[in-house]
Symmetry: C2
Subunit: 405 residues, 2 copies
Amino acid sequence: MSERLLVVSTDCHAGLPISEYKPYVETKYHDFIDMAVDVQVDMMDKAEAQFLIKDINDAWRAPIKQALTGAWDYKERSKMLADDGIAAEVIFPDGITEQNTPPFGAGLGLSPKDAVPELQWAGAMAHNRWLSELVANDPKRHFGVASIPLLFDVDQAVEAARWCHENGLKGVMLPTMWGEHAAYHDRKYDPFWAVCEDLGIVVHFHSGPAPLNEYFGAEFPMVDSSETLPGAMGCYVSEVMFWLFRPLTFMLWGGVFERFPKLQAMVVEGGTMFMVPSWLRLLDHNYTDIHFSAKLGDFRSHLSMAPSEYFARNCGIGASCVPRRDLDLKEQIGLKQIMWGSDFPHPEGTWPNTADYFSKTFAGFPVDDGKAILGGNATEFYGMDEGYLRSIADEIGPQVSIFNK
Amino acid sequence: MSERLLVVSTDCHAGLPISEYKPYVETKYHDFIDMAVDVQVDMMDKAEAQFLIKDINDAWRAPIKQALTGAWDYKERSKMLADDGIAAEVIFPDGITEQNTPPFGAGLGLSPKDAVPELQWAGAMAHNRWLSELVANDPKRHFGVASIPLLFDVDQAVEAARWCHENGLKGVMLPTMWGEHAAYHDRKYDPFWAVCEDLGIVVHFHSGPAPLNEYFGAEFPMVDSSETLPGAMGCYVSEVMFWLFRPLTFMLWGGVFERFPKLQAMVVEGGTMFMVPSWLRLLDHNYTDIHFSAKLGDFRSHLSMAPSEYFARNCGIGASCVPRRDLDLKEQIGLKQIMWGSDFPHPEGTWPNTADYFSKTFAGFPVDDGKAILGGNATEFYGMDEGYLRSIADEIGPQVSIFNK
């Protein structure tokens, strides 16, 4: 019998169609929700019209319409995982693609901009309640990442983290951008890092957020600016990794991993990982080379290790749909940091062509490194039950032959 | 006779002590200026107290107090250039170091934040008037870069660019950050790029600006946040290059160099140049690899070349005080793009130890490449009178022996 691989996707998405969240929202917010959903759907339609190419997305969706309901339907989801050969998944909220996002802007990105804090909390907790039901179907297989609008209220976030832990959610997603709020080096967040460290809750930042109005104009998404602002999308795709890694820049310098040495943080959908080595080098340069910044004083002595050392000890990268040329930088990025993800159900993801992606991307790749990236790193980082997942992998995992040249 | 090198510093600073700008400010603003100067001096004192280490800077200043007046005094400035072996210099406004900055926030950085547009224009034009007198002492030797608050009014900026050109100023410095204003891919700036291309005016962005309040807190510089926001300075020094190169990211994607193929742009005080190769690679990746961003549509067809090709044709880097390890990346960055600068009169600059810096940094460096970086690239990029500068260099230039091992 040929060997099957234990594959973990560190980047999957799930969420109800927005209007179906109502039963999960506290009743006191029901007066708001219908109106809010209408507005949010309208905004999503407009954003999608300007942000995504309808023809390409519609063509992609057409043959898989039923399968896409796996974004919220458990049976379809199980089929998807089996088809993709995925033994375990890390589940984030969803975005605009299938309009299956929590209400009140509480989904992917979790932007504080224009948000009403109390309502965004209500939407986030509605999603968390639903997600805790979803993962209860097979808790060792589904690692649920809760939405936590940390910026608005640290005490509330601490309480929410405890609720999540008690209800089977093992990770939290925080806003990638903090807007006008305090950045992540602020010691005000220490109680939140403390509860995450204490309960073994993994902190996540997900890619996507960026200052869209700078690229697409102040009126985005209500006004099409493609004539007046050429190249806006090029700016967005060239900067989005900067915005994703920015929370870690602040946490690393802020000494968060010095004070909370067991805290774990993931940056997810870190495509174009070839930026990572120069980002790490820049951080270490500023940690070790004091000559050029002597006039700025000592901003290092609260850190006992170089930034890249904390990164290697405490952080990971959700390397969704990672191309081969980035995998070949594994030593410079840190082999253990790289954890593959499928990005289901997004069109840029590998699903439903994951098998194809595996054999194209991993042909000739060192087998042990490939196993680590596809599953081993994630089971270790997330403390997953490897024995249990191995029994699933033995049924559905891709063949080890994907590494053949 | 041993050969002397023709050295150009592409990063020098000059400006009057702030209160002495008054005669250069239009009389209708005189009612504002005294009060505004008091406020600005107070802000600079507070910013310096929190941003710079007083002891280090005072110790650095003490033995060179008289020489530092070269920041505005022409005789002292000539001595400084002779001592440093610099034949020609590119002159920017100054910052807080010697409090010799134009009033109304019109100096280095040229931040639109909290600025009163009409007053910032008044301060900028006061500086430009003074600068045009300074460079008139020896116009072929001093390349004056005017302050232009472009964001507030493009028509006024076009008019100001014409005034600068007529008054001997050959470059313009634009705000590095645009705040709430339109970014540099906006076609509204086309008339400004057109006049710069037409008159051969070189566009400059200078390092330093960054979202300081995100690092140092909302109350910076009025409140010391070093206890509550540890590592703020580490965040700043790790991000400042991102903010410097950001205008080029937008101009490159916006097709500015496609529509204005002779426009020239410099990013100045581009320390930690080792970020440049990965920045160029990321831009080109997004230009050439359409697979992962197909759903985002075509955002490339308005560009006939890859971003790195425009960069090589139209752009340069003011490589102030550049360390050897960055010079060794010359092929990946682009040899022709690298132009040395001394950063006079800033403490992080090479002055007054430039001779020392030269021999330590360039020992064993390829001679032709070293000549290009120290002077040849700049004379060509800026269209300087090489014959005239050669006669100065023959008197004061450093010996070619700095390249000896």
